[in-house]
């Protein structure tokens, strides 16, 4: 009898565990599944309220994808996002890598405080800065230009990436650089020849993180840019495709799915390092 009880109890625990995991997974992923289904459904099927929405009541179609890529600016927005993303990643690396190394090794005790200070600027949100920056951007003659985004976006990538890289550099043993300096490299030479090659993992994390943030950004993009051809994906789709009373739900869902899921899969590889960055300093074991 007790053995049976124990077995029942274990099954119960296993069942409730499975249940919890399933409910949460459905909650998280259902909107994306629904985007995918909607993408391939004919509009007449989508708009018929007597149909079972989970079934393809009419044969699937590629019409929404055709419309999206050939009759909207979607392809252009993807390209804009990619262009801005690549340049912002470049600028972020140029600024954050040396700064992080300096904080990790060269500035001594004050470096830690300065590092926290830089990290805290990450908490200043675009929704405070966008009004003055709108004016600054238009005074610089960059309104409606992608260059306005390239100028401003590093303001949210640099602080966090500096913090993240600082942790990486601290984890590299100092002896390696000292050995290189005995071999005749300068202090800076040791950084370039020894430390940088060892921190590829950190650099890749920063690249993935910065690129994702650029894809997600919305407030600055909507504030600085009003030409449809200059939008990035995250601004173009909700402001330009969602317009008036006629929603092209099929194309709209295709647009959301295509821009969301591939980047999410890529990002998944880096998420642990990223979380370590969030909690560094707050919890040490």
């Amino acid at each position: 009898m007790p053995a049976l009880m124990r077995r029942l109890k274990r099954w119960g625990a296993r069942g409730s565990h499975l249940g919890i995991v399933t409910v949460f997974t459905v909650f998280a992923a259902f909107p994306f599944y629904w985007m995918l289904v909607t993408t391939f459904k004919r509009t007449s099927d989508l708009m018929n309220t007597t149909n079972n929405p989970f079934l393809f009541n009419q044969p699937p179609t590629l019409e929404h994808l055709r419309f999206l890529f050939f009759e909207t600016l979607y392809g252009r927005w993807l390209w804009n996002t990619f262009f801005v993303g690549v340049l912002v990643v470049g600028i972020t690396l140029l600024l954050a890598v040396p700064a992080a190394y300096s904080l990790a090794r060269l500035t001594g005790r004050g470096g830690e405080q300065l590092g926290i200070g830089i990290f805290l600027t990450y908490l200043v949100p675009p929704t405070i800065l966008f009004i003055p920056l709108a004016r600054v951007v238009s005074n610089l003659g960059l309104k409606d230009s992608l260059w306005s985004l390239i100028l401003v976006y590093p303001s949210f990538t640099v602080p966090f990436c500096t913090w993240l890289l600082m942790g990486f550099f601290k984890a590299i043993p100092k002896d390696l650089e000292e050995a290189a300096m005995i071999d005749g490299y300068s202090r800076f030479g040791a950084f370039v020849k020894v430390v940088i090659p060892l921190s590829i993992a950190g650099t890749l994390t920063v690249v993935a993180f910065s690129f994702t943030l650029v894809m997600q950004e919305f407030v600055y993009g909507m504030t600085f840019i009003s030409f449809a051809s200059q939008y990035t994906v995250s601004v173009g789709v909700p402001t330009f495709l969602v317009r008036g009373d006629v929603y092209f739900w099929g194309s709209l869902m295709a647009a959301c799915f295509i821009a969301s899921v591939p980047i999410a899969i890529l990002y998944n590889f880096f998420v642990d390092r990223f979380i370590a960055g969030f909690t560094v300093g707050a919890v040490k074991g």
């Binding site: 949100p125 800076f188 998420v271 707050a282 040490k284």
Partner: protein
């Protein structure tokens, strides 16, 4: 003439040598190299975060509009004017409700989910990938997915609830068109969006708790709930605070979900400070008033920074 040329050449090489000496000594000196390497990042942060922030303060005390060429100082007039408008009061209230409710829900759900994900099971990597989706996908696009799911005519959520019999055949709520339902929907989407981050942060904390602590307590006869409240939660407290802190900052200052789902409607019942600042400052062109509204977000950030610093310092001591 030739002599003069020679001396200039000599002087040139001397300068070059001195420069090379300076360069190599900079490259070798820890202090100067350190300053040189961090200077560009600091300069950039000062110019693109510090300067605009001061500008926001200045604008909020002026009468600037989007097209104006001159501006004059008007003191606290904007703040006084803003505080008196019912829309602002409503937005402030909405922001607080929306932040606190969504963070409370996120914290509870994240705790449950993190405990469930602590175990190893088949297909865990896939579950984790799917659970992270809402946080990694561009928020404006994920929210459009919800816009479709909450549509007034084609809502799949209503359809499912009718199909399983929770709603009767005549019940068809217009989620985004009725004040309380709209607020509920906005909160739900925010929970959906923030849950992954909080879960992963908590999961990191949970896996750092040594298992022998639990085993010892279990041997002493402590049950699941007792262990949860007397071991797990106290040990997890700092990391829970960090998760809540980030969640609060991101929720309090966000306008994207609201912009896409409701544009603040119906009748400003989902308007928040950030979206109101956008509509006033950018759409309405009143930069001064917009800046004044957005500065009401700042105290929360200061509080968050303060708490974060205290936690960081305590972690350093121990």
């Amino acid at each position: 003439m030739t002599q003069k040329a020679i001396t200039t050449v000599e002087m040139g090489t001397q300068v070059a040598r001195a420069k090379a000496g300076l360069l190599s000594s900079v490259l070798d000196s820890e202090i100067w190299l350190g300053r040189l390497m961090i200077a560009p990042a600091i300069l950039y942060i000062v110019l693109l975060i510090g300067f605009p922030f001061l500008l926001a303060l200045y604008y909020s005390l002026s009468d600037i509009t989007i097209g104006s060429r001159t501006m004059s100082f008007v003191g606290l007039k904007n703040f006084k004017a803003v505080i008196q408008t019912p829309t602002f009061q409503q937005s402030l209230k909405n922001t607080l409700i929306f932040t606190f409710i969504s963070q409370a829900v996120v914290l509870v759900l994240a705790k449950v989910l993190a405990l469930a994900l602590l175990k190893n099971f088949k297909g865990k990597w896939l579950v984790r990938l799917l659970i992270l989706l809402p946080w990694v996908a561009p928020i404006s696009l994920g929210t459009i997915g919800w816009l479709w799911m909450l549509d007034s005519i084609y809502s799949i959520i209503n359809w499912i609830l009718q199909a399983v019999g929770i709603f009767g055949p005549k019940t068809w709520p217009i989620w985004l068109g009725v004040p309380h339902l709209a607020m509920g929907s906005v909160i739900a989407v925010h929970v959906w969006r923030q849950l992954p981050l909080a879960t992963v942060i908590l999961l990191g904390g949970l896996s750092s708790i040594p298992t022998d602590l639990h085993d010892a307590a279990a041997v002493d006869g402590a049950g699941f709930w007792r262990r949860l409240f007397q071991i797990t939660i106290p040990l997890l407290l700092p990391i829970m605070i960090v998760a809540v802190l980030f969640g609060m900052v991101f929720t309090f200052t966000d306008m994207i979900v609201i912009f896409v789902l409701t544009r603040g409607g119906p009748y400003d019942t989902t308007q928040v400070l950030a979206s109101l600042a956008f509509f006033t400052g950018i759409m309405g062109g009143d930069l001064a008033e917009g800046a004044a509204i957005s500065l009401f977000l700042f105290p929360v950030l200061v509080a968050a920074a303060f708490v974060f610093l205290r936690i960081a310092r305590r972690a350093e001591v121990t």
